[in-house]
């Protein structure tokens, strides 16, 4: 079993279920609210997966004084850019040209490596030393330098070395030219004119259409049909089909509620019988069910010529191509993938709409204009096991906790802000879940000094040493653990209730003692029987159920200088008046796996 590194996750308040549960239970709103206040947070609940984040993922809104997670912030796109050529793409181009790079940036369809343009000079003549004209007219191909794929494998070469995207749009696999929709229309017009001259119908009615043209043909055909049929009489059409299954009766019923406009349109359109599309000019495309070509290709080239699902999903949608009818099964059907554009996004607070993160608009810079990360507002918590010489568990292995044997951990809180903060911790005495472990926070209330200049500590080193010793001795604790105050400066190495273990410039370490539960299922059943035993879950150990996770409610209080910039402050108030700030959130502390005995 892999050893577990201790971790701390913080719950974002956006996923607080209390308003939801209240709305679900309208009969007893007050009791539901009270329950939520009292209830301890369960890190194993399925919902918790979506609300717990490491501190590094969280942002902080300075105006709401609240933590914001990636799920609750509103994102806005600042720029689109190509990750390969780092060119910024204006958003107007995105609408017209799609979300892929339209320059010469392509990914290999085989291995998604970047493709580069290379020229293959056809039989270079050693007598001609430098012929720039010839170099220009030479054929270019795309090659992948990783898997050695080249565009010659799908029969595509380019006449120019730049503007590959535009050139590629005009070539089918195999080198045949491809017409755009506009060119198609013009070509068809010419053909029609020619056939009229010849006085015979066009023999090419069964041509292969690409998806875009087919759609355009179908659309124009059915629009024509609608126009023809609606020009007919407006008689007692709706009486014509009174069958229950007909869509008209449904629309009639709907029209009673919606006001009739829908009914009128529909009924009028149903007057004349509509014809279906009959040939490719009208958008009819017969599916090519003859797969003998594919089978013979498979027989001759084998498995190697087929493409994998990954390669298929990487392919961009090919609207400009003929309907493939499942033909994208061979590597010869693959096309180079234009790079997907990426974005830089700014993030807004969902409540007050203030921007809490905004990157620099320039593509090449990685700096941010605004970035309010939670790590610079709320204390970081680091965990390490405490091995006391002669203490409770000196020989416990670091990777697995011994069941039913007390283990001590050191939690270090580091204060990032420039004010002294007061921290209050609360944990349930037993962790939630099937295997409740006992948890005791030895010092649940303490103060952390401000994050002052780093040099302060170094310059006043003698003082701080003394200071630290003094503070460790008689940290005044006004929490519930008053009995810790009595036996003052005794043994410094022994963790005591109500005492801070160690403190520094802007950090404080406290001790948490846990008694991990035994993971034996028979024991679980017996304890449950003793407790009354209603509906115990004696199933086998589930995934990660052996991880000891402590839900911990952290409440941070600090004072700030009088809120001059605060909207609500009265103008007559004293500027020097301090304002109390408070932030409270649930966090989950994962200590390690409990060993199975």
């Amino acid at each position: 079993m892999a050893p577990l590194t201790p971790y701390t996750y913080i719950q974002c308040p956006c996923s607080d279920v209390s308003p939801l549960s209240r709305s679900n239970d309208p009969n007893s709103p007050s009791t539901a609210g009270a329950d939520d206040e009292e209830r301890t947070f369960d890190p194993r609940a399925p919902r918790s997966n979506f609300s717990l984040y490491p501190l590094e993922y969280l942002l902080y809104c300075e105006d709401c004084h609240q933590i914001r997670c990636p799920r609750c912030v509103a994102e806005e796109i600042v720029t689109y850019y190509c990750p390969n050529c780092l060119f910024e793409v204006p958003s107007s181009n995105i609408k017209s040209e799609g979300n892929r790079c339209t320059r010469s940036c392509f990914q290999c369809p085989i291995c998604i490596g970047p493709l580069s343009v290379a020229s293959i000079d056809s039989q270079p003549d050693p007598n001609l030393l430098a012929a720039p004209d010839q170099a220009q007219s030479g054929t270019n191909i795309l090659i992948c330098s990783y898997c050695n794929w080249s565009s010659t494998e799908i029969g595509i070469t380019f006449s120019k070395s730049n503007g590959i995207h535009a050139q590629l749009a005009k070539i089918r696999n195999g080198g045949a030219p491809r017409l755009t929709a506009k060119e198609h229309k013009e070509k068809r017009k010419e053909e029609a004119a020619q056939s009229r001259l010849a006085g015979a119908s066009s023999p090419e009615s069964e041509q292969n259409l690409d998806v875009e043209t087919q759609f355009a043909n179908l659309k124009s055909f059915y629009q024509g049909q609608l126009a023809e049929s609606s020009s007919g009489g407006n008689g007692l059409s709706s009486l014509g089909d009174l069958g229950f299954a007909s869509p008209n009766s449904l629309s009639r019923i709907m029209s009673i509620y919606t006001g009739g406009s829908l009914h009128d349109k529909r009924s009028r359109s149903r007057v004349g019988t509509m014809r279906e599309a009959l040939d490719s000019d009208e958008g009819l495309q017969l599916a090519d069910l003859d797969e003998s070509a594919a089978i013979s290709k498979l027989q001759s080239e084998g498995y190697e010529a087929t493409i994998s699902t990954d390669q298929l999903t990487e392919q961009p949608p090919r609207l400009e191509d003929a309907h493939l009818h499942g033909r994208t099964r061979f590597t010869s059907e693959l096309r180079p993938i234009p790079y997907l554009l990426r974005t830089k996004r700014s993030k807004r607070c969902p409540v007050c709409r203030h921007i809490i993160s905004k990157p620099e608009a320039k593509v090449a810079t990685t700096r941010f204009r605004i970035r309010l990360v939670a790590g610079s507002y709320i204390p970081t918590i680091t965990i390490r096991p405490l091995n006391v010489p002669g203490g409770a568990s000196p020989t416990s292995p670091p990777d697995a906790l011994v069941p039913l044997q007390p283990a001590q951990f050191l939690l270090t809180f580091r204060n990032p802000i420039f004010e002294t903060v007061k921290v209050t911790l609360a944990t349930p005495s037993k962790t939630p879940g099937r295997f409740p472990s006992k948890v005791t926070v030895l010092c649940p209330q303490f103060e952390i000094d401000a994050n002052t200049d780093v040099w302060d500590e170094a310059l006043n080193k003698d003082d701080t040493d003394k200071d630290r010793r003094r503070r460790r001795g008689d940290e005044n604790n006004n929490g519930g653990n008053g009995n810790g105050n009595g036996n003052g400066n005794g043994n410094g190495n022994q963790p005591e209730a109500g005492k801070i273990w160690e403190r520094g410039r802007n950090w404080v370490s406290i001790v948490v003692e846990v008694v991990p539960a035994s993971l034996r299922l028979d024991l679980l059943a017996s304890t449950a029987n003793l407790a009354g035993g209603e509906g115990i879950d004696a199933g086998p150990l589930r995934e990660d159920e052996d991880i000891l996770e402590i839900p911990m409610f952290v409440r941070v209080e600090w004072e700030v200088e009088g809120g001059g910039d605060e909207v609500g402050s009265a103008p007559g108030k004293d500027k020097e008046a301090t304002e109390k700030r408070e932030l409270a959130y649930w966090s989950v502390i994962g200590l390690g796996r409990v060993g199975q005995s």
Partner: protein, 192 residues
């Protein structure tokens, strides 16, 4: 020669000195390592980079013409079995063994024009065909037979190279060797 010193500890020429058969047009760096008891034959215009390691403990090592063996590459590494065969490693012509690649001994053959990528491993007894490309970190199991023009990429995926540029590649290799000959001071006398 400049007096720059590497921070890497000096090469220890441990082990027996093998009988060698070196071409006169060879470029072999002073700090390359040739060890073993069986003969090592290196043919014309091949370049052996500094700190490349060629071991003939398990049999004869033959390197063809115009090959490049890069730094810290190991040819003829003693495998798990450690059995002695007549030919430990045979490289064809125009073979490139990239940095840190390892080729185990035991009738292992690398065909003409093949590139063995950075940190790739070729097991004992594997026969790699001609003009293959093994991308970095590829591992070829012992005894495997790789057909000609195979590209092995991304954790063992395989495809056939249909570029048909073997001539161009050979030309490029020759040009690269031209440059390397000027860059790497050769000292074949040390190994003779």
């Amino acid at each position: 020669m400049s007096k720059r010193h590497s921070i890497v500890p000096p090469i220890s020429q441990a082990g027996p000195k093998p009988p060698v058969q070196l071409s006169s047009s060879l470029t072999i760096a002073d700090s390359a390592v040739l060890t073993g008891s069986h003969p090592i034959a290196i043919h014309g215009e091949t370049v052996i980079h500094p700190r490349a390691r060629i071991e003939s403990l398990c049999g004869r090592v033959t390197i063809g013409r115009r090959c490049i063996v890069h730094e810290r590459a190991t040819l003829g590494a003693v495998g798990v079995s450690g059995r002695v065969t007549e030919n430990a490693v045979t490289l064809g012509d125009y073979v490139t063994i990239e940095v840190g690649a390892a080729i185990q001994a035991g009738e292992t053959v690398i065909g003409d024009g093949t590139t063995v990528g950075v940190q790739a491993k070729v097991g004992a007894g594997a026969v790699v065909g001609k003009h293959c490309t093994l991308t970095p970190h590829t591992e070829i199991a012992a005894g495997e037979v790789i057909p000609d023009y195979t590209v092995i990429y991304s954790n063992g995926m395989r495809r056939t190279d249909r570029r048909g540029v073997t001539e161009l590649r050979n030309k490029a290799q020759a040009r690269q060797i031209e440059v390397l000959r000027r860059m790497i001071p050769s000292n074949p006398a040390k190994f003779a």
